[in-house]
Symmetry: C3
Subunit: 309 residues, 3 copies
């Protein structure tokens, strides 16, 4: 494939395309100015799930590219009156919106919509249920490549609530394809066998000494009390599965800590580690803006809305 009018699933990109996206993001981070828009371009941000980071990061990326932003509040939209996502998007398109950045709790909300020939509006996936989070994956890759200069041969562990994390699923496949050795860790109740094709599931303590990157996943606190699956007191979770200072001390020199955030300090990771020298957590957020500028650029250029040079 090449880039298209939508940006939905990063795993559809070839390795070369991923490196092209990362090169562009890194150039933006180094101060490269975006090319000019060919006309006024408008974007709607539709976040059906709570967000600070992703919605603000997308807005900043849009702002820096010179797009005109329209924030749609789903709490007061006609989808509250039962309008389908497809009809809402056709509406936005009829009103003149060029792009829609969407987060929705339904996994793969875009499956039918991307095939609809009447939908010319660009669909940007900002997170779909228990599915993917491609702009997060791209910023994770940017953070890792910036740190180590390459992906081949790196060892990485993704630790925590694997089953419910779109970060885990979004990232693991691509990490493997790009040549990294992936491990998974966390409570067995939250492991999913489907992911075995991308990496081995093992205790965090067994891989900490050899990995270059630890990605801690957010624990959804309400899930800690879900008796039907697994029940932990937060302190117990931290002690058994969290990245404590003792555990972090085993990490090798140069190894880094990442987290998609928001962080539960003292649950999945020790508070001091969040602000410590190994942490790239706020670096990830900084990189997120440039990663999103890059993917939006590819969509805009595919659409012919932005100069190539």
């Amino acid at each position: 494939m090449t880039f298209s009018k939508d940006f939905l699933d990063l795993s559809r990109c070839s390795k070369e395309e991923i490196h092209e996206l990362l090169d562009l993001a890194a150039a933006y981070r180094d101060g490269q100015q975006p090319t000019a828009l060919k006309r006024d371009v408008t974007v709607a941000n539709l976040f059906f799930e709570n967000s600070t980071r992703t919605v603000t990061s997308f807005q900043m990326a849009e702002h820096r590219l010179g797009l005109s932003r329209f924030n749609i509040n789903p709490q007061t939209s006609s989808m509250k009156k039962g309008e389908s996502m497809g009809d809402t998007l056709k509406t936005l398109q009829a009103i003149g919106l060029d792009l829609a950045v969407i987060r929705h709790s339904q996994t793969a909300w875009y499956k039918q919509l991307e095939k609809d020939p009447k939908l010319a509006i660009s669909l940007i996936n900002a997170g779909d249920g228990a599915g993917l989070h491609p702009s997060q994956t791209l910023l994770d890759l940017l953070t890792i490549r910036t740190e180590f200069g390459h992906f081949e041969g790196l060892k990485i562990v993704i630790a925590g609530d694997i089953a419910h994390s779109r970060v885990a699923k979004s990232d693991a496949r691509l990490f493997k394809e790009l040549g990294m050795q992936v491990y998974f860790a966390g409570p067995e109740e939250w492991w999913e066998d489907d992911l075995a094709e991308f990496g081995e599931f093992l205790p965090l303590d067994d891989c900490l000494a050899k990995v270059d990157v630890v990605i801690c996943l957010r624990v959804q606190l309400e899930r800690l009390n879900d008796q039907s699956v697994a029940s932990f007191a937060p302190a117990d979770y931290f002690h058994q599965y969290g990245l404590t200072e003792e555990r972090a001390a085993k990490m090798k020199p140069g190894a880094i800590i990442m987290h998609p955030a928001p962080v539960n300090r003292g649950v999945e990771i020790a508070s001091d580690l969040v602000d410590g020298p190994r942490s790239r957590i706020f670096t990830q957020m900084h990189n997120g803006v440039f990663a999103r500028m890059a993917l939006l650029t590819k969509v805009l250029q595919f659409r012919g809305l932005m100069e190539e040079k």
Copy 2:
């Protein structure tokens, strides 16, 4: 009358003024650029009822005219603390807002406010309770005039929940004044005798073959279950009163289907008809932006905030 500082009720406009608005809207649609603003002009959007279409359409119109937009979220405003609409508007005026676009559940919310000599801020009616929806009427007229080139002698049926629809009330009077023959259809429980002066109430099947335009009104699903008025299963409503494919097959060549949206597909209209060749539903939304640009232009020029040429 001529245009004024407010835009509240389209029926106050003369036929000539309505055609002047439609001419301007059509010119905007054809690519005419707005004249320049004389200074920075600011607008507040206050939507006290849910909306996607109208609020986004107004924002797009404001954007294209070069206005600076301020979105006020009524859910977190001081009206939650009991402040009256009048005091909220005086506040916005004191802060420097030039226009306020308002949707509110109270019918004729503007009645006292438009007479208040201390309110210099322009009031734009984006829907008042069971009252009017003048920008919707204007876009409906633009859609019809674009299709047929004129209004005189056209036959039109408005079908559905007449009693609770501000579209029905807003539109019917003007349709008649502009020379159209108006019919109403739908459940008798939702008919209102007051409207008889504008058109005849009869079964949809009796007028479909002769009309040029069918306007289906939205059924509010919660009202289908209101035992005190009339109770229908959605499928029964569709079968008895909806625009089914069988019914639509009776429409004459060139006749069109309109709907203010959001549509309940399979309740007031068959889903395939929404996307079919007779449908002008998404065209209406497209026209809505230009209709709103036109009415805002007249207000801005009346206020001396926008160049005449």
Copy 3:
């Protein structure tokens, strides 16, 4: 002190600095254009409590200074998932926001944050719990100085729900320091002895004839029914403690009425007085924009983001 990267507590400013802020606000009101920004500057507005006036006024001030605005909706933010204010601010900073304007129900929410060396983002206090409201104090001072040309020797009474008002606490200390004679009035149940150092508590009727300024405070209607403290019917409150027309008739020539708003007409003040010749209530709102432009200017210039001249 001099101005700093944050703007949290007006009482940290010297008299000279306060007059410098008021001079700048008055110059903006007279049409002085802001100096140029040195680069694109971004601001996030985070209002965790309902607001119309303050949030819109800050947005207008930001708009006039040429800042790029990002409105964060706390109802849909990650603080709903338990993220701390500190982590939210570090996130916004990592994303590239330069300033955060914050209203929060926690008194002195900024105490730890202002000392955090990792927080380079500017913190602007738009109201902290039962604490301070420095931009309100500044606009109150601007309104008084504009009226009388000076502060020394003026007599002022703050009347109403003293105990729960951040306006009372924010204002009283500064009023006294600037040379005004402060009185307090209202129900004894809502008086707080701590404030005695700033002024005498006495019946409103005893001071009305001698004061230059009456500041009526908003009564929170839900508090009128709080049996544990004091219980009043609104009409009784008005009769006993409110600014009725009879009471206002005792005010001396040239004396003015202020109120932070939103006003409960007929509870803390007679409705006709709100719109009458002594009222400066809407003048206060008008002044608020210029006061906020002034304080933001000082922050921006301290940060080196805005030209000095």
